[in-house]
């Protein structure tokens, strides 16, 4: 085949696989959006778990813990985190992960079957740029706060921790991150590998210090940061909602990680070790630190807990960890944009793609009240889209398509592909997401964070998920399928798991 690297024979391929596979070192499909063959998968259960844990134990876990501690005490915080994360991690470990691992498809390529090619691109750009920019800004602002605290303690000055100095330092974090990202994935991996163990050390250190100073009964008696509430049940439900939203926030990342796993179990269960157990553990540490010190800002925990010298060292590590988190997030978004952003972005140079992701974050760091200082609202802005998106993907793949996708149709051009819908956009799926988002907004105002009366029994993310799921099912059955759109009648040909026919 002209222009293509020769494919190996049985003896040449990895693991003695079938004769049709690319030879190792010749063509690395894991850095493209091509479907991966089974022998190209690189992670077993433990390798996927290690990556998952590394992502979960990041500085955003401290922010999550502090946000939960605002509403509830230690016991209810732990319960809210396990319940909230448990439900949402179950859903994100199924909806984006299972199609990706089965077919080896890139996550945003996979949702072409649900939203159409143009529709998938809209979500990819929305999620990869807006959410990545917002998360990067949050982390950069935390970097700025931390470094101002370090400067104040080392040089004996009194810079305000929420002023222009913190924003300017946040901007420096963004610029440094862009410079590293522009050099490519090797430098990203090297920086992340160095910081992760230090962050785990800090988490363990906080646990040891907090428990050496307080008994369990003292910790459980601590009041929430927001004070005693007249309606503790509502506060508990707000805490559950925060964690549901925190779990759904993983939707953009998990499918592409699962794509690299060797088996469906190696794709599914590591999410429970990483984004569930490790996230909950790290966020619980955040709750303990915030409540024992009665301070919500994570960068203000280290010096009171560990003293000036160790505290400043810990803060520097936390600042660096924020950079590594920006790098991880930014790199994943850049890969997604390059693969699925259309011809223009595919041709764009790597540094320019970095600018697309981090440019908006460089502006957002000067508006900390928009994201960092209203973390709960910010997380709910993500959930308002991601919970219904996850629901539509879940119903489409597991119920309407019976877990079968035509890989060929995913890559066929608009007009030829059965996943064309209406000029490349599945309006029914978009309407279902809109219905879910509307339900969320009715139950929990995303601007004021004011809950409706029904919220205290339902949360907002779960009804948003249910409404979007039901709407997508009904619209598909009543509107899409009767018009012969979406390839819902396709079934696998006997003897082939991927070749489909009507």
């Amino acid at each position: 085949m002209a222009g293509t690297e020769r494919l190996g024979t049985d003896d040449e391929t990895r693991g003695g696989g079938p004769s049709v596979l690319p030879r190792q070192g010749q063509f690395d499909a894991t850095v493209t959006d091509l479907p991966l063959m089974r022998v190209e998968r690189i992670w077993n259960f433990w390798q996927h778990s290690a990556v998952n844990v590394g992502l979960a134990i990041a500085t955003w876990a401290f922010l999550q813990g502090a946000a939960v501690a605002y509403y509830v005490g230690v016991k209810q915080a732990i319960a809210a985190m396990i319940i909230g994360y448990g439900i949402s991690v179950l859903l994100v470990a199924l909806a984006p992960c299972m199609p990706s691992v089965k077919h080896g498809i890139e996550q945003f390529v996979g949702i072409r079957s649900t939203f159409g090619e143009r529709g998938a691109r809209i979500f990819m750009i929305l999620v990869s740029t807006l959410l990545a920019a917002a998360w990067s800004a949050v982390l950069a602002i935390m970097f700025g706060h931390g470094l101002v605290t370090v400067i104040n303690n080392v040089f004996g000055v009194a810079l305000p921790e929420t002023g222009v100095a913190a924003s300017l330092l946040g901007l420096i974090a963004i610029v440094v991150s862009w410079a590293i990202l522009a050099r490519g994935p090797v430098s990203v991996e090297a920086v992340c590998r160095a910081i992760a163990p230090l962050l785990i050390l800090i988490v363990v250190g906080i646990i040891v210090i907090v428990f050496s100073r307080n008994s369990w009964s003292e910790l459980t008696a601590l009041v929430p940061l927001g004070g005693e509430s007249d309606d503790p049940h509502l506060n508990f439900m707000l805490a559950v909602e925060l964690n549901l939203a925190g779990g759904f926030a993983w939707w953009p990342n998990l499918g592409n990680l699962a794509r690299l796993a060797k088996t469906p179990r190696a794709a599914f269960w590591p999410n429970w070790i990483g984004v569930f157990a490790a996230s909950v553990a790290a966020a619980a540490v955040g709750v303990l630190a915030a409540l024992s010190l009665q301070v919500e800002e994570p960068t203000q925990w280290m010096i009171p807990l560990a003293g000036v010298v160790l505290g400043v060292i810990a803060l520097i590590v936390v600042c660096l960890a924020n950079i590594t988190a920006i790098l991880s997030q930014g790199y994943a978004s850049m890969v997604a944009l390059k693969g699925g952003g259309g011809a223009l972005l595919r041709r764009a140079a790597w540094p320019l793609l970095g600018l697309v992701i981090l440019g908006p974050a460089a502006v957002l760091v000067f508006f900390p009240e928009a994201v960092y200082e209203n973390y709960g609202r910010f997380v709910s802005w993500g959930a308002i889209v991601l919970a219904p998106l996850c629901a539509v993907q879940f119903v489409d793949y597991f119920i309407l398509r019976h877990r079968h996708i035509s890989v060929r149709a995913l890559y066929q051009p608009i007009g030829e592909s059965p996943y064309t819908y209406w000029r490349g956009i599945n309006l029914a799926a978009f309407a279902a997401v809109a219905a879910g988002a509307g339900t969320y907004a009715l139950l929990l105002n995303p601007l004021s964070y004011e809950p409706a009366p029904l919220f205290r029994y339902t949360t907002a993310s779960l009804p948003a998920f249910a409404v979007a799921a039901a709407a997508h099912y009904l619209l598909t059955r009543l509107v899409v399928e009767p018009r012969g759109l979406g390839g819902y009648g396709l079934r696998p040909v006997a003897g082939s798991s991927s070749r489909m026919q009507s």
Binding site: A2, G3, T4, M98, F236, T263, P264, W269, S496, S497
Partner: protein, 54 residues
């Protein structure tokens, strides 16, 4: 990466996936019992936590 190489690779991979021995190239589905076990464990855990924390 050359667009033609990517296109050729894509076409070749799709052919493998659609071949009669496609099961060799695809990863299977997650067993339903894994999902059921997860849902049951989550339900039980939620009930216990609500009793403990309330």
């Amino acid at each position: 990466m050359d667009a033609q190489i990517l296109q050729d690779q894509l076409e070749q991979r799709i052919k493998f996936l659609e071949s009669s021995n496609s099961a060799e190239h695809l990863v299977g589905d997650l067993p339903a019992r894994d999902i059921v076990a997860c849902v049951l464990a989550l339900t039980l855990m939620t009930a216990v936590l609500l009793w403990w924390a309330y």
